[in-house]
Every structure is written in structure tokens, then in C-alpha cells.
Symmetry: C2
Amino acid sequence: MSVVYQRVALIGLGLIASSMFWAIKRGGLAEEVTGFARTPETRATAREIGLCDRVCDTVAGAVEGADLVVLCVPVGAMGSVAAEIAPHLKPGATVTDVGSVKRAVIDAVAPHLPDGVHFVPAHPLAGTEHSGPRSGFAELFDNRWCLLVPAEGTDIEAVANLRKLWEGMGANVDEMDPEHHDLVLAVTSHTPHLIAYTMVGVADDLGRVTDSEVIKYSAAGFRDFTRIAASDPTMWRDVFLSNKEATLEILGRFTEELFALQRAIRTGDGDHLHDYFSRTRAIRRGIIEAGQDVDAPNFGRGKAQV
Amino acid sequence: MSVVYQRVALIGLGLIASSMFWAIKRGGLAEEVTGFARTPETRATAREIGLCDRVCDTVAGAVEGADLVVLCVPVGAMGSVAAEIAPHLKPGATVTDVGSVKRAVIDAVAPHLPDGVHFVPAHPLAGTEHSGPRSGFAELFDNRWCLLVPAEGTDIEAVANLRKLWEGMGANVDEMDPEHHDLVLAVTSHTPHLIAYTMVGVADDLGRVTDSEVIKYSAAGFRDFTRIAASDPTMWRDVFLSNKEATLEILGRFTEELFALQRAIRTGDGDHLHDYFSRTRAIRRGIIEAGQDVDAPNFGRGKAQV
Ligand SMILES: NC(=O)c1ccc[n+]([C@@H]2O[C@H](COP(=O)([O-])OP(=O)(O)OC[C@H]3O[C@@H](n4cnc5c(N)ncnc54)[C@H](OP(=O)(O)O)[C@@H]3O)[C@@H](O)[C@H]2O)c1
Ligand SMILES: NC(=O)c1ccc[n+]([C@@H]2O[C@H](COP(=O)([O-])OP(=O)(O)OC[C@H]3O[C@@H](n4cnc5c(N)ncnc54)[C@H](OP(=O)(O)O)[C@@H]3O)[C@@H](O)[C@H]2O)c1
């Protein structure tokens, strides 16, 4: 791999930023990576574990002279961070972000950026339920998708370089418009997270009644939900507040289907249930064939089960 | 490990029965294990892979002389299978099952069993999304719970022996009454499965519109749901039809909570969302501390990701 950017600045040093740092180092994709996080604790942790070539105590210090600035903060904080960095951006630099929602981030960030700075919003479809500077690892983006969402007329070279960076970090890159991105993600990520949070919340209410039985006997289905529902509350609050329309639309469809299945249970309509449960199997096969998940039972933890 | 039963008969040769066979062999828990499945295909597969010491072409042949008969068929088929085996049961034998619902199975099976035969219903809380005779493995039950649901007054020795068998197969054993079992499982397994099926169904509808994008960009949350929703349609149809009341009750609570979160999104009530998302984290910690799941990000598939 060869250097794509002389200097990259990571603003926010959590799961995504730290994974980007290790992946950039693995690929030799930048000469220097600077970093900034708002709390002294996170900056101290970053220095302790060698996260970033240089951790700066001001956002200005991290951004100055950077060829690429990556906003790695919760979606709801993107606008204020963009306002802060704007005066310090090098002319000709590229600003990108990794936010899970795209329309709202573009609306919040773009107005602050000076002319002569390129804005190429992005979203890596990769994550885990862990967060913070210690949670990252170089392999997070390997063979996962990263979606670029540039506005029409964005500098071609700026887009091409960002693509090169993400490919260098192991990702497959596609382009998409922001509205479509937000709808697809509402289906594949946002609504599933809300539902998992809800189910775990219901179990928690009942858990208090039945002591720790819900935990003790957490069978397959529920265990998986608890992993999803262990994700960062701030990140997900911001996602739902900023992808409101698409999430509410998909939730509406979800509730409709759920009511139909509920009625089938109530009336004993086994055929409806069986048909419904049969067609969803094909999607799983598709995901495995597309190399987006492992086929091992229980994600492979079956055999390794403690 | 020492022999718990001279002869065990497995009726139905799918995921659970085949895992039991390999676990019984690993532990040396029975002198002979016979097996029966209704289709010639399954019996042929069983013979081919060495599943059971003796695969019988009639249910009578498998059951004759057995000290323990295990019903490993879908919940809705338990009653008719019990009726079929009843005339062939050895006096003093124990009949058990592995069904995911207990009240309905007890009501369907118990009336068919002759006096002098002990009935000890059971449910191992372990499974994968795969099914059929080839899907089993000896480690499936290791460190997972198996719940015994004997009626009051059941022969103490019969219960103790079944407990010994499950412990020998690696499981932790608890006793519970059937109604409580069905409610706890509605929370930890049945409702989560219904919800996962629903969400994947919604995505499937939209998937047709947006080509294969839902598969291609299946992000973390959704991928997990597709695994759950790849489970056997017949098994799950039977579970919902036979645990109707508890499932509908939990679904009612789920919908209530979901509507509250939906309203919080619509009205922009970030505090409600953040509070809700924070308390569900504790449950995940509990499950990991209880040794019922791995703490590795993405169930450990993160690093091994293809
Ligand atoms: N996690 C995933 O699965 C995933 C996947 C794809 C995209 N994303 C997106 O990536 C972004 C970062 O997520 P992450 O998982 O890396 O989060 P994370 O591990 O929780 O880290 C968040 C970082 O943002 C900083 N931050 C939080 N609130 C801030 C504020 N109001 N102003 C300035 N900085 C703030 C934090 O600083 P301190 O440490 O100093 O508090 C921390 O360094 C989010 O936009 C998220 O939507 C996440
Ligand atoms: N899978 C899980 O995660 C899990 C976990 C705990 C408990 N359970 C319970 O365990 C039981 C078996 O599940 P499994 O996963 O082992 O299922 P499976 O792999 O699909 O195997 C089911 C077996 O039952 C036989 N069968 C199906 N319908 C029948 C009928 N109407 N009459 C007679 N035999 C019939 C099948 O015979 P053929 O092959 O000849 O068709 C097959 O051998 C179910 O009651 C389920 O609720 C399952």
C-alpha cells in the first residue's frame, strides 16, 4: 500500500476512529495521523495505548495542516464540531465523517465549511457493540462496505482519494445518495437496533419480577438482542433523532406485519406463520453467499461456547 | 462418566436428537442408543453418518426395551408420536421430550402414557439456526441450561436419572413448573424469534424494491436478526401456536414499549431514548457474567470476519 494522504486528523477517538487509525497504520496509508477528543481522559488513554502519532489538546492543533479531517463523533455533535474546525482547515483539504446517518449530517456540517475545502460524507457499515478508544482494531473494516455520499459536483479527485483510503483499510466502497442511504440503513441497522432495545427493555421489566431468570435462561434469540442493545446510548439516541422519518416509516411497516403475525397466532393460522417463516430463510442465505456473515451455527460461538 | 440408562431411544432425528446422541457417546452415558425418524431419507442419512447405534424402520422397534424414550419432534407432533409409542413402552421406562413449550406438550403427551411409565418433560435451552440429522454436535449443551418440568409426585429416581443424563451431556439442570417455563421462554426466546422474523420479512418486502441492497449492506443489527429468522419454520409455527397466551402477553408489552419509543423519536425526546438505551446495557453485562455468552465483539466473529 502507498500513502494516500500526508496527514490525517481524527476528531473523536472512539471505536471507529481507533479502528481507522490501526487500519491506516497497517496499510501505510498516511505519513502522520493526529487525533483529538474532547475529554482529557480519552486523550490520556489514546496517548497511553499509542493511538495516533500525535494526540493534540486542541481541535485546532489536530486539524492544522491536515489533508483529510475525519469527524468521528456522534451524529448530533457533527455540526458543532464542524463549526469549531472550520477556521483551522487547510485550503484544499478534504473533510469527511463516519456518521450512521447522512442527510442530517450533511445539513449540519456543510454550511460551516469554507470554500476550497472538499466535503465527502461517508459511512462504514462496520461496528461492534463496544465503544471508546480501546475498542478499535485494524480488521474492523475488512470486507465490509463503506458508503460514500458526495454531493453532485464534488471534486472527483477528493472522492477518489477517500475511496482509496477506505479500500486501503480493507473496505469495499460504493456511492449512494443521502436519502437512499438513510432509508436502506433504517432497514438494515436503525430499526433492528430500536427493536432489540425494546425487547431487552421488556425483558428487563419482567426480569425484576422473576429475579435473574431472564439472564440465567437467556436462550439464543434473546442473547443476540442483548448484544445489539448494549451499543452506545448517545450514538443511538442521535441516530434516531436524526433519521426520524425513515425510521418511523420502517417502524410503521414493522408494526403492520407484527400485527398480522399476532393475529395469526391468536386465530391459530399456522399456514400464515409457516409461509412467513419460510421466506425469511432465503435472505439469510443471500447474506452468507454475499460474504457478509459466517455460516457457522450461532456465529461460530456454538462450538467455542464457554 | 458412567452409564445412566442401558438403552435410550431417540424419536425424531434432527438437531437436538443428533446433538444428544453425540453427547451421550462422548460421555458414555448409555449402552445403546436407538433412533427413529418418520422419513426414509432422514433414516438413511442417520445410518450414513453413524447417528445412533441402531436406526429402526419403525417407531415400535426403536422404543421396545428402551429405558428412556426422548421425543425430539416439533411440539405440534408430540401428541401423535406419544400415542404411537405408548403400546410399545417397557414398564418402568421414562418418557421425556425436548420441546420448546411445556404446558401444551404435557397436555398432549401425558394422557397417552400407560401407568407405570414415568413422564419427565424437559427443555434444553440450546440450539442453533440449523436443523436436521447432520446439524448436531456433542458440545451443543455444554454449560447451557436444561429445564426439567416434572409434575408433582413424579418418581424421584426417574427425575434424578434424567438430571444425571443432562449433566453428563454438559448441561446445568434446573426444575421449573410448566406455566412459569412458558412465560420465561416467551420472553427469552419465543417473542425475540417472532420479532426477528417480522423485521426480516419487512426487509424482504423492501429488498425486492431496492434489489439486493438489503443483503449487500446488511449491517450488524440486521445480520443477527437474519440468523435467528433462519430457524426451522415448522418448529417455530408449533411454538407460537402452542405457547399462544404467553407469547401474546409479551408481544402486548413489547408493542406498548415500542410505541413509547416511537413517540419519543417523533417528538424528539432524546432523554427518554438515552435513558432507555442505558438501562438495557446492564442486562448484557449480566448475561456475560453468568457465562451465557462471549464478550468478544460481534460474538467473536469481528476478528475472524471473512
Ligand atoms: N459504533 C458503530 O457500530 C458505528 C458504525 C458506523 C458508524 N458509526 C458512527 O461513528 C461515529 C462515532 O461512533 P463510535 O462508535 O466511534 O463512538 P464512540 O466509541 O462512543 O466514540 C465517540 C467519540 O466522540 C466523542 N464525542 C462524543 N460526544 C461528543 C460531543 N458532543 N462533542 C465532541 N466529541 C464528542 C467522544 O469523546 P470523549 O471520549 O472525549 O467523550 C469519543 O471520542 C458516530 O457518528 C456513529 O454514528 C458507529
Ligand atoms: N432447534 C432448536 O434451537 C431447539 C432448541 C431446544 C428445543 N428444541 C425443540 O426440539 C424439538 C426438535 O427440534 P430440532 O431442532 O431437533 O428439529 P429438526 O432438526 O427440524 O428435527 C425434527 C425431527 O422431527 C421429525 N418430525 C417432524 N415433524 C414430524 C411429525 N409430524 N411427526 C413425526 N416426526 C416429525 C423430523 O423427521 P424427518 O426428518 O423424518 O422429517 C426430524 O427428525 C422441537 O420440539 C423443538 O421445539 C429445539
